[in-house]
Amino acid sequence: MKTADGEGERQINFSWPEREMLAGLVFLAALILVSALFPAAVGTGPQAPLLRHAAAPWIFGPIQVLLLYVPPLVGAWLIPGVFAAFLFLFPWLSKGRGARPALYFFAFFVGAVLVLLAMYVWLG
């Protein structure tokens, strides 16, 4: 019988140098390279002339785009709230006959986020 750690299946025993450690070192090297090549912006200082337009951080870009087209209560609470509730309850919503609709709605969610992110980039 297969158990939690896959006993009964082919096992990998960790030994030096571990694959995980090598992958981690590659990741760190890539992160240092990106950091050296693309410095993080410091933004506009408080003493500078006032900005006429400020974009949200990109992670909240989809919500900023929504707020351009729908009332704040809908764009900032209702729509994100429905998606968040769906995501939290996904394992239970996708049981039995709900499996396929839940997967379609999940795909719709991912697609909507990507479209809104593209609009955020497009609108600047």
Partner: protein
Amino acid sequence: MAQKRGFLNHIRPRGVSEKAMSFGYTFCLGGVSFLAFVVLGFTGILLMFHYLPGEKSGYASVTTLASVIPFGGLIRDLHFWAGQVMVISVSLHMVRVVKTKSYRPPKEWNWLVGMSLLVLTLVLDFTGYLLRGSQESGAAAAVAVHILTLLPGIGRPLAQMFLGGASAANSSTLMVYVWHCVALPFLALWLQMFHFWKIRKDGGVRPL
């Protein structure tokens, strides 16, 4: 059975299933997220030696870090990029879990922990953005306060509790700083430890 006992043995068993180590199954997205979190913690502590929250000191200390302190710019850049990587890797990790149907019983409760970690990651990224103390951060703080106050009754207390009077003029308040540097990272760390432990308990990362 010995390796079934103990927290550390769940995190780091002597051996794991070959499938669990398959790159094509997990794409290492959970591991990348955790590694980014470790980088964030390490660089964050170094940044705390020089960063001062406050209306004038927030932005000033960021520019000092970026241009005066030796390696301060690189440490800040690492902190920034690790944050962006973590947001992307946690999001992709969620998509991978759906693709491989790894949310099915008995893993549904761990899905909830993972979703909480996704929300925490977004909030951590946002509070980090506010701590820059720039005009853009101030605008983001003003929008966040406005959005929170849309909630009748509890909105204003929530804004005060989470943003501590952050405004367009001052986004790097002490309250935001404490949330970003202490409360949220420790909560995220605790949830991640539980998440990893539960993965092993629920059958490891392998096709069901």
